[in-house]
Structures are given as structure tokens and as C-alpha cells.
């Protein structure tokens, strides 16, 4: 009487739609965990890079030298990421514009700020990439799992209608099998929601720090631009 109900037997015995639901949920769970781990690694690296770069930046190093150091890495094929890309974009634009004699200070400043804004946008995209996927896994996979469960229970009750002797044992396997879908949905959803909230908060903090750096760097550039222009106006 005690029929062995293995997990594998339950999944294999499920109806096609329930199996499809389970497959979707397994894929969702796999990809969301992949993204969670990858994003956390990326976030951690961005934090480290920011710390290292800020230390270097405020150590009193000559900005042109810092830029040149970065050049070396770029020629090696490593594209600048994080706050370094902001710095490089701003400094490049600044040096390019300040070489043109007819540029006034405000235009130079505006140009370099715009270049940094563009770089910041790009960084925002890079950091927040795939986060919406986690959000949608978190919000939809319980529903997908529920659909599988409802469908499975529906079927097991339909089977019950044809059975002459209706016992709990007739429906129990079907319901058990159907409930696996909900369990899988929740299993996929809970980490995704938690990770989404955590990663969204962290990326906000990171982007705020980028913006702070952008403003600080524009302050430095402003000082330099006005000093440069003052020199130029005195000379003729």
C-alpha cells in the first residue's frame, strides 16, 4: 500500500503543462542565480575599484599623469570601467577643448561635464543591467508556479471523478506533484527578490558616489579652466 513516491517519479509523471512550468522555473532559477552571483561579483569589484581610484586620485598625483597611466591599460586592451572611465572621459574632453584658443572657460567646463555625464550613463547601464530580469523573475515565478499547481490539482481531481473508490491516496500523488511547481516558483522568486532589492540599493549607493566624484572632479576642472583662461587673457 505504501507506494514509493520519489521526487523524480513525481516530476516525470506530471502532465505536460506542469512539466513545462517546471522547466521554465528551473531555467528562471538557474539564470537568476547566475545573475545574482555575477552581479554581486561585479558590484564588489566596482566598489574596490572606486576605493583604489579615489585613493590614487586624492593622493595629489598630477592628473595628466594619472590619465597617462590609464592610457597604458587601454592600449593593453583593458577598457576603463567605473569611476575611471568618468575621469578619463572628462579629462580627455577637457584637454581637447582647452587646446582650442577660442574656447571660453564655461564652454570647456560644460563640454567636459557633458562627456562625464555620458560616461556616467554608460556606467549606470552597465551596473543596472539585468536587474530588471531579477525583478521580473521575483514577481512572476510564483504565479507561473501557481499556474502549474492549479493545473495539476485540476487534473488530479478530474481523475478522481472517474475513480469508483475515492480515497485520499487517489488524489495525494497528483496534488503532491502539482505542489512541486509552487515550491519551485517560490524557490526561484525569493532569492531573486532579495537579490534585486539588495543589488538595487547597492547600485544606487555606487552611482551616488560616482556622481559625487563627477561633481568633485568638475570643481577641480573649473579651478584649472579659470586659471588657464586667466593666464591666456593676461598674455596678449
Amino acid at each position: 500500500m505504501t507506494q514509493e513516491l520519489g521526487l523524480i517519479e513525481l516530476i516525470v509523471g506530471a502532465s505536460a503543462l506542469v512539466q513545462a512550468v517546471m522547466l521554465i522555473l528551473v531555467l528562471a532559477s538557474l539564470s537568476s542565480w547566475f545573475l545574482i552571483i555575477q552581479r554581486v561579483m561585479l558590484m564588489r569589484r566596482a566598489d574596490d575599484e572606486l576605493l583604489v581610484f579615489e585613493e590614487q586620485f586624492w593622493s595629489g598625483i598630477d592628473l595628466a599623469q594619472l590619465y597617462r597611466e590609464g592610457n597604458q591599460a587601454v592600449t593593453e586592451g583593458q577598457l576603463p570601467t567605473g569611476v575611471e572611465s568618468l575621469f578619463r572621459a572628462g579629462f580627455k574632453e577637457f584637454s581637447r577643448l582647452s587646446q582650442q584658443a577660442d574656447m571660453d572657460a564655461d564652454a570647456i567646463l560644460e563640454g567636459s561635464r557633458r562627456a562625464m555625464r555620458v560616461a556616467l550613463m554608460r556606467e549606470t547601464d552597465r551596473i543596472e543591467q539585468h536587474l530588471p530580469f531579477l525583478a521580473s523573475v521575483g514577481s512572476t515565478s510564483p504565479y507561473i508556479g501557481l499556474l502549474g499547481t492549479v493545473w495539476g490539482i485540476m487534473h488530479s481531481f478530474r481523475g478522481l471523478a472517474n475513480a469508483t473508490q475515492a480515497t485520499l491516496a487517489t488524489v495525494a500523488p497528483g496534488i503532491s506533484e502539482a505542489l512541486i511547481a509552487t515550491a519551485m516558483g517560490l524557490f526561484a522568486a525569493i532569492p531573486a527578490v532579495l537579490a534585486y532589492n539588495r543589488l538595487a540599493a547597492r547600485s544606487d549607493v555606487l552611482l551616488n558616489r560616482y556622481e559625487t566624484f563627477l561633481d568633485e572632479f568638475s570643481g577641480i576642472l573649473q579651478r584649472q579652466t579659470y586659471a588657464l583662461k586667466a593666464n591666456q587673457s593676461q598674455r596678449p
Binding site: L5, W33, I37, M41, L168
Partner: protein, 229 residues
């Protein structure tokens, strides 16, 4: 760059697969243990559920007329074997009318006549299905009474309630004393009567829902009310 890409794709992929594989393995390995618990719980549940739901075999009017002729010297050497009244029939006006019959008249009636009277009541008031149920109940009652020999220690007013379990073929698979009369010999005589019958062939004719609802487990009440003392 390629090392970087490998790190940011390979490591999460490996970790993800390891996590899911480990979880699946854990579930598959521990599944059988969890299953035993799950399997044990529903096995107990139905027993308790059906026991609580006390079953009926015979409508109320029977004991009432029997009680009235009690002081008389036993019109027939027949013990009353009945069970709790079915709620639907208690509310019916027909069984209520039965006790209104003259006590003397009732006393003169034999057991079979009473039974047909009761059955007729049910026939006129109830639907076809409950009457079949009651016919089966009556035959069970008759079969048990025929094989019941009361011990000398039996007294009027003793009540023993037996819980009887049947299988769909009518075989008795379990007899137990639900409520003792206080006299072991009396309880044992009642149990012996049921065991002697052994099988109620009429039960096999019932359809499954009726059997499950009424005769899978039911109670028989043993009352010797026709004794002189």
C-alpha cells in the same frame, strides 16, 4: 580580458549549477524519509474521522415501543439491538408517530412486524437509497440477535456499544467494545455474537458511497430490555 570574461561567466555558472545540483540531490535523497511521515499521517486520519462520525443502523422508534412493554414477561425472547438514531429520521414525523401507538398493541407485535412497520415508515417518507441502507441495517441487526446468547449476569438497563468494522464484501474485520456495560461477560457475549455472524452478505450489495458512509465502521448497541430482572 578573456580571463575576466571567464571569471564573470564561468564562476557564477559553476556556483549556480553546484547550488541547484546540491539542492536536487538533497531533495532526492531525503525524499523517502519525508514520504514515510506523509504516508503515516493520512493513514491515521480516516480512522479518527469516521469514529467521531457515529453511525446509525436503526431509527429511533424501536427502543421506545420496546421500553413500554418492559415490565411484561418477555413477549418474545428478543433483545433489542439498535444503534443511535439517524438525525434525518428523528426529525421525520413518521417515526414520531410510531411511539404514539398503543403500548399494548405494540407489545403484541412481534419483532418482525415492528421491523416491517419501521421499514414501511421509511419507505413512505424517505427516498429509495436510505431505505436500502436501513434494510441492510435491519438484516445486520437480525443476524446478530439470532446469534446472541446472553450470559446469566445480564440485567435490564445494561448497555454495551460495539464498534464494528466491515470490508465491502461484508466480512467483519474488527470488533471492539466502544462502551462497556460494566459486565465483562455481557460485553464478551455481544462480541461473540458479532464474530459468530462473521459476514453480512447483504452489505456487498450496497454501493461504495453508502458503504463508506454507513458500514465501513458502525456501532451496535446491545440492550437486554426484555429480561425479568
Amino acid at each position: 580580458m578573456s580571463v575576466d570574461r571567464l571569471l564573470f561567466a564561468g564562476l557564477p555558472a559553476t556556483l549556480t549549477l553546484l547550488l541547484h545540483g546540491g539542492l536536487l540531490l538533497m531533495l532526492v535523497v531525503r525524499w523517502s524519509g519525508a514520504n514515510e511521515v506523509v504516508a503515516a499521517a493520512p493513514a491515521i486520519q480516516p480512522i479518527q474521522a469516521t469514529l467521531v462520525q457515529a453511525e446509525t443502523l436503526k431509527p429511533k422508534p424501536k427502543p421506545k415501543p420496546k421500553k413500554t412493554p418492559k415490565p411484561k414477561p418477555a413477549p418474545a425472547p428478543v433483545p433489542a439491538v439498535e444503534s443511535k438514531p439517524q438525525p434525518t429520521e428523528v426529525t421525520q414525523p413518521a417515526p414520531a408517530a410510531a411511539p404514539e401507538l398503543d403500548a399494548e398493541q405494540l407489545a403484541a407485535l412481534t419483532r418482525e412486524e415492528l421491523e416491517t412497520l419501521v421499514d414501511a415508515d421509511i419507505m413512505t417518507t424517505g427516498a429509495g437509497e436510505p431505505s436500502l441502507r436501513d434494510v441492510v441495517a435491519a438484516t445486520i441487526q437480525a443476524a446478530v440477535i439470532n446469534r446472541w446468547t446472553r450470559p446469566p449476569s445480564a440485567r435490564n438497563g445494561m448497555v454495551a456499544v460495539l464498534a464494528i468494522q466491515l470490508v465491502p464484501t461484508g466480512e467483519v474485520v474488527g470488533v471492539g467494545v466502544l462502551q462497556s456495560s460494566g459486565d465483562t461477560a455481557f460485553d464478551r457475549s455481544a462480541m461473540t455474537a458479532v464474530n459468530r455472524v462473521g459476514r453480512f452478505p447483504e452489505v456487498a450489495k450496497l454501493d461504495d458511497p453508502t458503504f463508506e458512509a454507513n458500514f465501513r465502521r458502525f456501532q451496535l448497541i446491545f440492550k437486554p430490555e426484555d429480561l425479568r430482572y
